[in-house]
Amino acid sequence: MRILLILILLLPGCSGSINTPVSYFNVETPRPFGYVIGDEIPQRIIIETRSGISLQASSLPAKGQINRWLNLNQVTIKQSGQRYQIDLRYQVFYAPPTVKALTLPGFTVQFNQGENKPEEKMLSQSIPAWSFTLSPLRELVVRQTEQGEYLRPDSPPQLLENTQAWYGLSASLTVTVLTAAYLSFLYGFFPKLLRRTLFKQALRKLAGLSKTDMEQVLSIVHYALNTLNGQPLFYNQLSDFYQRNPQYRQISAKLEWFFNYSNRYFFSAGMITVTPDLQQIKDLCEQCRKIERGSL
């Protein structure tokens, strides 16, 4: 009879504990004072559920605006077994004129039990609201000076060390400019500079050629003369050429020979090239080089 009585007394205890889905529940909050507008308030909720019961993530407040002055910036859930660690990060945007008590609103977390059936009653755990005090950012007494409202600026932040970056930037800029200049030189964007090295380049190209490459030899010299002239130069335009470039008049006989030779080579049949011709063309090019350097 006594055992039966004890059992009867214990029964209500069993039924009560089975309705609580949570075996451990704790809300960790920071200090409840000393906040100003724009501060972030972290809140950590630790929940351990009973086996077969899991947290319904959608029941947590959504990231974004909670009310007029409160924003929820971040919601993170870390789960390890039946233990949930929920980190919430609020930010306050309230500008109180005096110290004011505010409350982070409470909410209810819901749980799923096993294979959740719709008709079953939802299990839940309410998270209590949390009060804290918010201080004004600005001074309490509004003082006026001649310049207007008195507000002291924050001390300027210390600048980061950037000498290294400056060195790096200047070095890479120098390399870029030099490369661009070299490229433009290669592409012929500096006609005046190019004109002063025309025959130097021509001589370099002529160096390895023999009398069998006469077509190439003539083309190289023609190209140099054409570039110097700014447009294709023909035999009958030599007098205009001398007017524009009077320093070349002193080798007019050689130039005329060259144009005649080129005309015969390119436009008449049965021309035989000999080594002295090649030498003569190279001599002409040498002389032109001297003229372009100003040493003749």
Binding site: E215, L218, S219, H222, N226, Q231, P232, F234, Y235, N236, S262, N263, F266, F267, S268, A269
Partner: protein
């Protein structure tokens, strides 16, 4: 006689003929040289110039010097194609008669046909000339007449535009050259023209010119000449570049002020135009004592052979007088050989 000596012999005659003309018509040496080129390349010539600068005198002198049968007609607004072929009249007995017109009068010996003021004639007349010039034959009285020796010289003055008809492109293309005759700019020549009575009476001036009587051999000569004068592969490449440049000058770096180059040209040179250019260049090489063509030969005849074959977009046509010479110079200055 070998071909070589024959050509040398003919060259002397041609140069002598040029000299004769230069004595009759003074101060027009470049134009005379071009006409000589056209005569020996067997191409038709269109002369353009101001009034009284000596176009007609020059052509009469050429016709007189060449020998051969000569006909002349004046372009008027009521001239019809039939007027060139026949004319009908009442004879002294009052009977209607039909006689051959200027084109047919000399039959196949017609040599120089001089069409004065060609832009005053109607397009119908131009159309008749199209065939006569290209094929050297016409159809009349239900039969074809061949005119193997005919060379057309036409002139037009550029002062008046009223009551004139612009020559159609097809007619222009059949002329080998369009030569501009400008007033001589040397004071000595102008003084001579004003005060020397020799130049006052053109009939007498031309009458005094000796007739060389070699006209009917010119076709054979031209054929020999065209075969004998050589063109090298490089020169052909150069001519091809020039041709392409007349179609797309912008690809050869030709740039004119205030012109969108891709929109400038409506049509470039035709294949016929280019063949005329090469014929003229070969003749020029021959006159310059060479047996091969040089780029300077092509350049020498490029302007006279090409200017009338390039057709500008209507947007630019009103600046034709300024743009075309610039374009031609631009092409010659930008295309390189080799």
């Amino acid at each position: 006689m070998s071909t070589e000596t024959q050509l040398i012999d003919w060259r002397d005659k041609a140069l002598q003929f040029e000299q004769q003309i230069n004595q009759v018509v003074i101060g027009l040496q470049p134009a005379v040289r071009n006409i000589i080129l056209a005569v020996f390349a067997r191409g038709h010539v269109l002369l353009e110039g101001n009034v009284g600068v000596g176009k007609t005198t020059l052509l009469r002198a050429v016709a007189q010097g060449l020998g051969g049968d000569y006909q002349r007609i004046e372009g008027t607004i009521d001239l019809m194609p039939a007027d060139l072929i026949y004319y009908a009249y009442l004879n002294s007995e009052g009977r209607p008669c039909v006689d051959s017109g200027p084109l047919l009068k000399h039959g196949d010996t017609l040599a120089t046909f001089f069409f004065n003021e060609i832009n005053r004639a109607r397009p119908q007349v131009h159309a008749l000339l199209l065939r006569a010039m290209a094929e050297r034959s016409i159809n009349a009285f239900n039969q074809d007449y061949a005119l193997p020796h005919m060379q057309v010289f036409a002139d037009r003055n550029r002062v008046e535009r009223e009551e004139t008809f612009e020559l159609p492109a097809a007619a222009k293309d059949r002329f080998m050259m369009e030569i501009n005759i400008d007033m001589p700019n040397s004071d000595a020549v102008l003084d001579e023209l004003m005060f020397n009575p020799r130049f006052h009476d053109t009939d007498q001036l031309i009458g005094n010119m000796s007739n060389n009587r070699f006209y009917y051999q010119l076709n054979d000569l031209a054929q020999t000449l065209q075969q004998h004068i050589q063109t090298s592969p490089k020169l052909r490449a150069y001519a091809l570049s020039l041709w392409k440049a007349t179609h797309q000058p912008q690809h050869y770096g030709v740039q004119l002020s205030d012109v969108e180059m891709p929109q400038l040209l409506m049509a470039g040179a035709s294949p016929r135009g280019m063949s005329y250019l090469i014929r003229a260049a070969k003749t020029r090489a021959w006159l310059e004592h060479r047996n091969h063509v040089l780029p300077e030969d092509l350049q020498g005849v490029f302007s006279v052979c090409m200017t009338h074959r390039l057709f500008l977009n209507p947007m630019y046509a009103y600046r034709k007088e300024q743009l075309l010479p610039e374009l031609i110079t631009g092409i010659l200055n930008q295309v390189a050989a080799p």
